[in-house]
């Protein structure tokens, strides 16, 4: 089962750029530990994951009345806190929750990734 894990810095884990170099190093170590824990766990595979640049780099596209509007900034206030994501293949939700305990104390949202039909063309 494929899952998307969204990492947000609302809670005890502040925004990455607000961390001291030492704290950033400790945080990175937790991300490496997470990768190792995923690799060590039966049936679990990390399919992807990226850290995102801070929100001042964000560009939002909206289509209104059929017209594409490009603006500066995130699409929602809440999105300001999003720092990165993972895509993980795991056998079940409890296994993934257990693994996420290794990560820094982000607020995390887990969503199953939908199976899309294979491209027939």
């Amino acid at each position: 089962m494929k899952y998307f894990v969204l990492l947000a810095g609302y809670g005890e884990m502040p925004l990455w750029e607000d961390l001291s170099p030492e704290e950033q190093e400790a945080g990175l170590a937790q991300h490496y530990a997470f990768a190792e824990a995923c690799a060590a766990r039966d049936g679990v595979e990390m399919l992807g994951g990226e850290a995102l640049a801070d929100v001042s780099m964000a560009t939002t596209l909206r289509t209104r009345n059929g017209e594409l509007v490009v603006t500066d900034g995130p699409f929602a206030e809440a999105a300001e806190h999003i720092g990165g994501f993972y895509v993980i293949d795991a056998p079940d939700l409890d296994t993934l929750i257990d693994l996420c305990k290794v990560l820094p104390a982000y607020d995390m949202e887990i969503r199953p990734v939908l199976d899309m039909p294979e491209d027939a063309g």
């Binding site: 049936g43 056998p91 296994t95």
Partner: protein, 438 residues
């Protein structure tokens, strides 16, 4: 097939009152009802474990009971009724899975945790897999209002109509809620097979909270004949009993069952002539003494616990003090106030402080109770009970202006019609007695 379990038919060994009014049943119907109540959860848990199809298992088992209702009165009750039902239901589910395969559709299976072992496929000796089913229904990733409904439906076999009645929502709303919850279990990969060991205690706390929520729903004031739904709260008590049978050593489960038994024992005294009766005014001869004794025995087996188990134990000790008192005047309010103080220190809960204020008002004085209410509005904003309790204590302390103002605040905040009507009556009574005193 129209047969389904319902309180309109016989309910043997039951906790609810409505049975005596039920029409006489044929022995086979009686037998089916008995098997339904005793075996539904075990049969469903096993079907779910073996087929990993939550949706099909429930329909298949309902169909098996419908067939039993048609066949048993003619063919006689089989020697192993549960085995017959299991085999029939399993055949149904397998048939549906085959039909899906032929149609080229493949519905996803329930996820399973790494430690999960499929139960043996021997329909004669039915294993008890209900704990896994309960843990699945009470998973924290499900909305809390769905958890108790799902546990009652899947583990106790309570009908959707009855669960809707319990939670005072329409059947359609409840059916949609149950469907969404089952869909989330499958799509989000909530696994069958129980949590990781280090999480087991916390998950069990969650299960107990879920059972308690289902229980208290039965005592939230509704309208007309459904003012209270003690019969359905009884299903939550039975769920707690099942849990205690499965995990006799678990302190939070034991404390929860004790609390439920002690509170539920008062059900017959809680309504009189279509109106709610407060604890002080209840006819205590209507309290079920055998259930109170069972609750007290469970409590005796518990010592000071930690965490949620201790919170529930203290709540149960408070219920026990009320249950022991042969008359309202005999209540040991000082003991109750002391339990509430401990609970408040543990939880920091405003609701507990409110209850503590009531106990302190009884144990010491209304003024001492009023002092504990100071600042409680900030902790419980919009809660009408803070104002209602202040009004009550102020009137007892002779502070009539405060009492009137507080009743008015409580009335403006209260959204429950029944409680609102009660508050309006109290305010009117106060005006009358107040003017008499002048």
């Amino acid at each position: 097939m129209t047969w389904k379990s319902g309180r309109s038919s016989i309910c043997p060994k039951t906790l609810d009152e409505s049975c005596s009014a039920a029409p006489p049943e044929t022995p086979a119907e009686l037998r089916i009802e008995e098997v339904y109540r005793a075996e539904w959860g075990r049969l469903l848990a096993l079907l779910v474990s073996r087929t990993r199809r939550l949706d099909l298992a429930e329909d298949g088992l309902a169909e098996a009971f419908a067939r039993a209702a048609a066949r048993w009165p003619i063919d006689g009750t089989p020697a192993n009724p549960a085995g017959w039902l299991y085999t029939t239901a399993h055949r149904q589910v397998v048939g549906r899975i085959r039909a899906e395969a032929i149609a080229g559709r493949k519905a996803p299976l329930l996820a399973v945790s790494p430690s999960w072992v499929r139960p043996d496929d021997v329909p004669v000796e039915l294993e008890d897999d209900r704990l896994h089913l309960i843990l699945l229904c009470c998973h924290p990733a499900l909305p809390s209002e769905s958890r108790s409904a799902l546990a009652l439906r899947l583990v106790m076999g309570t009908s959707t109509e009855e669960i809707a009645r319990l939670f005072l929502v329409s059947t359609a709303t409840m059916a949609a809620r149950l469907t969404r919850a089952k869909k989330k279990i499958v799509q989000a990969g909530i696994p069958l097979g129980g949590p990781f060991e280090d999480e087991f205690g916390l998950r069990l706390d969650e299960v107990c909270r879920t059972v308690y929520l289902a229980f208290t729903a039965g005592y939230a004031p509704g309208t007309g004949p459904d003012l209270l739904r003690a019969d359905l709260a009884g299903d939550a008590v039975r769920l707690a009993t099942v849990l205690h049978t499965l995990l006799p050593e678990a302190a939070q489960v034991r404390a929860t069952l004790a609390l439920l038994l002690l509170q539920h024992a008062r059900r017959a005294a809680r309504v009189c002539d279509g109106a709610l009766v407060t604890l002080a005014d209840q006819d205590r001869s209507l309290w079920r003494q055998e259930e109170i004794r069972a609750g007290l025995r469970l409590l005796d087996g518990l010592h000071t616990e930690v965490g949620y188990a201790e919170e529930v134990r203290l709540q149960a000790l408070i219920a026990a003090e009320h249950a022991r008192a042969i008359a309202p005047e005999a209540t040991n309010w000082a003991m109750i106030a002391s339990h509430y103080a401990t609970l408040e220190a543990m939880t920091g809960s405003g609701i507990i402080r409110l209850n503590r204020a009531v106990a302190v008002a009884e144990a010491e004085s209304p003024t001492a109770g009023l002092a504990l209410l100071v600042g409680l509005e900030e902790i419980l904003p919009g809660n009408h009970r803070v104002a209602a309790v202040r009004a009550e204590l102020a009137s007892r302390a002779g502070k009539l202006e405060l009492a009137q103002a507080s009743y008015r605040t409580a009335i403006s905040l209260c959204t429950n019609e029944i409680e609102r009507a009660h508050l309006i009556t109290r305010l009117a009574a106060l005006r009358t007695s107040g003017s008499l005193e002048r």
